[in-house]
């Protein structure tokens, strides 16, 4: 799992950590029961305040995404079926909203935007089928 912080996003740093761990859980990059990095090494690696990581982990624990086991650290919850659909939906909506705003700024109409989304879906699917075909 790779966490990358962006200080130009205007998003609080601990929220960025929370969101990225949730994304990793949703995508399967983190599996149920898998250990998360301990607070200290993660804070050192990202060079952020230790308390920022502690706050992010506290938030994830209160949301039931991770569990802390005494003396052993934090783990992705066992019953963590990739995030519930409504949470995943919310995460996607945030991304779409940003793209919609950007489309507006770049002066694309709704129809043009929708068409572009279709095109990108096709392009990704094509690329994916090529990749899996090539690997086998």
């Amino acid at each position: 799992m790779l966490i990358q912080l962006n200080f130009k996003s205007g998003k609080p740093v601990y929220v960025q950590v929370v969101d990225q761990i949730k994304s990793a859980a949703a995508s399967g990059a983190l599996k149920p029961g898998e250990a998360l990095p301990s607070i200290r090494p993660l804070a050192e690696e990202l060079r952020v305040n230790r308390n920022t990581i502690a706050k992010a982990y506290g938030e994830l624990e209160s949301q039931g995404v991770i569990e802390s086991r005494h003396g052993k650290g934090c783990f992705l919850s066992e019953n963590h079926s990739p995030l519930k659909k409504d949470i995943r939906r919310k995460m996607l909506i945030e991304e779409i909203d940003q793209a919609v705003v950007q489309a507006h700024n770049l002066q694309f109409t709704r129809e043009e935007f929708q068409k572009l989304v279709e095109e990108r879906f096709d392009a990704m699917e094509k690329k994916q089928s090529q990749n899996t075909g090539g690997a086998q």
Binding site: R40, A43, R47, N49
Partner: protein, 296 residues
């Protein structure tokens, strides 16, 4: 012990003489357990402020409190709870690394020997080596050890990483996060002055920008990055004449307009959007850009 008491509280501090107006002092409150940064240009008064905390300078007026105590009246009690790493460190030239650590430990009630061992290893410092034979980076590492091993409640860092190579700078920051903060998370307070704002960015909870002996901006780092934005608009022909209320600064380059705001970004975005720009974007400022935008 009153745990609500701030680690540092400075009120109406005045130590500038001559042309600076009296009466407008410097104010600062550093809550416990936070990493607090003091930013300012050279000569803004950062080192002077720190020296007042250490009772190395006597302010002309105003009050300075460290854990509720006056550093001048309770010098010993204040100094037992803090440690200081200055920008240029000096040790007794006849001492070895080992002697120096013993010497500093002799002034302290508490000294974490296990931590000392870990840091000696991490910094690859040879105990028998004479301090004169140390590089600038190694001297700073030794100074950091003398500050961290007593596990003080407050760590004061004055421009600690200037002039050091990137690897030493990185190790320094990691040590503050790991070895120092981890020991008692939530209670260890860091007060740092630095020009290397970007390197310390992730560490900083709150900050004050000072200029000519006064506090100009005091903010929470996350909130600052949310409020300060750089908005760019490019127009088809020329940039229309607009009144942009609340903008900190604006600059026109050809068909492009760049506006910096401290809050109210969405209102300005709306105003600009109404002018149908070809392109309109916004991004948050990093702390270093906020610093420049404030003092320019």
């Amino acid at each position: 012990m009153n745990t609500d008491q701030p680690a540092i509280e400075i009120k109406d501090l005045v130590y500038r003489y001559g042309r600076a107006e009296a009466g407008h002092g410097f104010n600062l409150t550093v809550p416990r357990g936070k990493c607090y940064a003091l930013f300012g240009r050279n000569g803004a008064g950062k080192t002077t402020t720190m020296k007042c905390l250490l009772s190395l300078l006597r302010p002309k007026s105003g009050t300075v409190r460290v854990f509720g105590m006056d550093p001048r009246k309770d010098e010993v009690a204040v100094k037992s709870r803090l440690a200081y790493v200055p920008d240029s460190v000096a040790f007794y030239p006849w001492m070895s690394v080992r002697d120096t650590l013993n010497y500093f430990a002799s002034f302290r009630k508490h000294w974490n020997l296990k931590l000392e061992g870990e840091l000696l290893e991490r910094f690859r410092l040879e105990p028998a080596k004479n301090v004169n034979a140390l590089s600038k980076g190694q001297k700073t590492q030794l100074a950091l050890m003398t500050a961290v091993c007593p596990e003080p409640d407050l760590l004061i860092l004055d421009e600690p990483t200037s002039g050091l190579d990137p690897i030493v700078r990185r190790e320094f920051i990691e040590t503050v996060i790991g070895a120092y903060q981890e020991g008692d998370p939530g209670n260890r307070t860091v007060f740092v002055s630095t020009h290397l704002i970007t390197e310390f960015e992730g560490l900083i909870d709150e900050f004050t920008i000072m200029d000519a002996g006064k506090d100009v901006v005091r903010m929470n780092a996350d909130e600052a990055r949310e409020k300060y934005q750089k908005i760019r608009a490019r127009f088809e022909h020329e940039v229309p004449k607009l009144d942009l209320p609340g903008a900190l600064s604006s600059r026109i380059r050809g068909r492009e307009l760049e506006v910096i705001v401290n809050g109210g970004g969405s209102a300005i975005m709306e105003l600009l959007r109404a002018q149908s720009p070809e392109e309109l974007t916004s991004e948050s400022l990093r702390l270093e850009e906020i610093f420049s935008a404030t003092l320019q």
